[in-house]
Symmetry: C2
Subunit: 215 residues, 2 copies
DNA sequence: ATTTTTTTTAATCATTTGTTTAAATTATTT
DNA sequence: AAATAATTTAAACAAATGATTAAAAAAAAT
């Protein structure tokens, strides 16, 4: 009856469990997924889940942590990158996120749900988040606004708009497809289109507010 | 052991159950809510839930249907309204939605989750959705684009952008508050601000694309 | 080859959970 | 007031569910 310290061994079954869990948790959420579902999807014996991960909750936390990392790494990289101007950073950010969500379409809703239900757990694990507000990117924007080269706009609006335009179409894809009658393939192409369009739109949004300032 | 046909009687306990269920389902989703949670929150005996609603699932469906109605009524009203120009309709739509989500902050995530998990169930119940594509509002936009008075832009982008800018900040409020350090009260004020700003931003987005066309 | 350790399996446990039952209570009708 | 119907309650059931156990099988070490 030798228990094992998780890290050290065979990735095969451990990985099988993790990827099955990732798939299911991401698609259905913690409560809706049963340990037996994971075992079956992974093609392993039920007891192995607890053997490798101790509990459903611990397994979920691992999946969630990795998901959060995927989600945040892109922002963090761009937000803390010190080279390039605002426009360039936005382009890279948009592009890398659209690629990420094209690969993992369930990721954003999964994460937003988790944050929605456990708002306090979230920043504890990922210190990166607090860093965003102090990042060079946000500073860059704040400075540009103060200097007048970019019109004033509350930073929340700016970040909210940018994230909205990137993320929401992935969260709402079934609805938007139903409403517009667009096919899966078309939808994907339209998302690719947005890589070029969102940066332009964001720029246009910023210019809009100059009316308010110059009045 | 007298069973009853639901509609006819005392609203008191039935309503207590419904509002408790609405609160919990909306906040935590179907699987995470236990019938005993609902009973406790409603301050009623567990068996009454089944007495009045037959099953947890039936109760959930009622809550979901009402939520979908709340969610869609606003669009449908504006989208099928035949008076007023595009700009006016957008203003009304934005304003009514921001009010709706300010009152029911958990509503959008709840509905998006449901659609995400049961994409087929959704349009079956709410015929309104299919109607949106054929609505006078969408026609109006399509005509305006063709006539050149508004630049060409795939209708999906238009609807996606509009919904994104309205809805996403409510879905992501905990995250955005953490990132920007904005308080609950400030956040609410900023959402109110968006009533005026989003229509301008949408207009600005539309104009952006004219470069592509006029080139 | 033998021993030891690690991994896998089938069976089982203890709770939890959705639902039902039968009796008690309350309200309504006659 | 008596009879009937509707509502509420406490208790219980059956199935589902997360977790554990002890033994078997496989792999690694000696």
């Amino acid at each position: 009856m030798a228990k094992k310290i998780i890290e050290t061994k065979d990735p095969s079954t451990e990985e099988k469990i993790k990827s099955a869990a990732q798939l299911l948790f991401t698609k259905k959420g913690f409560a809706a997924v049963k340990t037996r579902d994971i075992a079956e999807a992974a093609g392993i014996n039920l007891a192995l889940l607890n053997y490798y991960f101790r509990s459903k909750e611990k397994l979920f936390n691992i999946i969630m942590e990795e998901s959060l990392l995927k989600f945040i790494k892109g922002v963090a990289d761009q937000f803390n990158n010190n080279t390039g101007d605002i426009a360039e950073k936005i382009e890279k950010l948009v592009s890398s996120y659209i690629d990420l969500f094209s690969r993992y379409p369930d990721l954003p809703l999964f994460i937003l749900n988790e944050i929605h239900q456990h708002p306090d757990k979230f920043p504890a694990k990922i210190e990166t988040v607090a860093g965003i507000a102090r990042s060079s990117f946000v500073k860059q924007i704040r400075d540009a606004m103060k200097s007048g080269s970019v019109p004033e706009l509350h930073i929340l609006h700016f970040i909210a708009n940018l994230m909205s335009l990137i993320i929401f179409p992935f969260i709402a894809s079934p609805m938007l497809m139903k409403i517009t009658g667009v096919s899966q393939k078309q939808y994907h192409e339209l998302m690719q289109e947005r890589k070029k369009m969102i940066p332009k739109w964001i720029k246009a949004i910023l210019k809009t507010n100059s009316k308010i300032k110059s009045r």
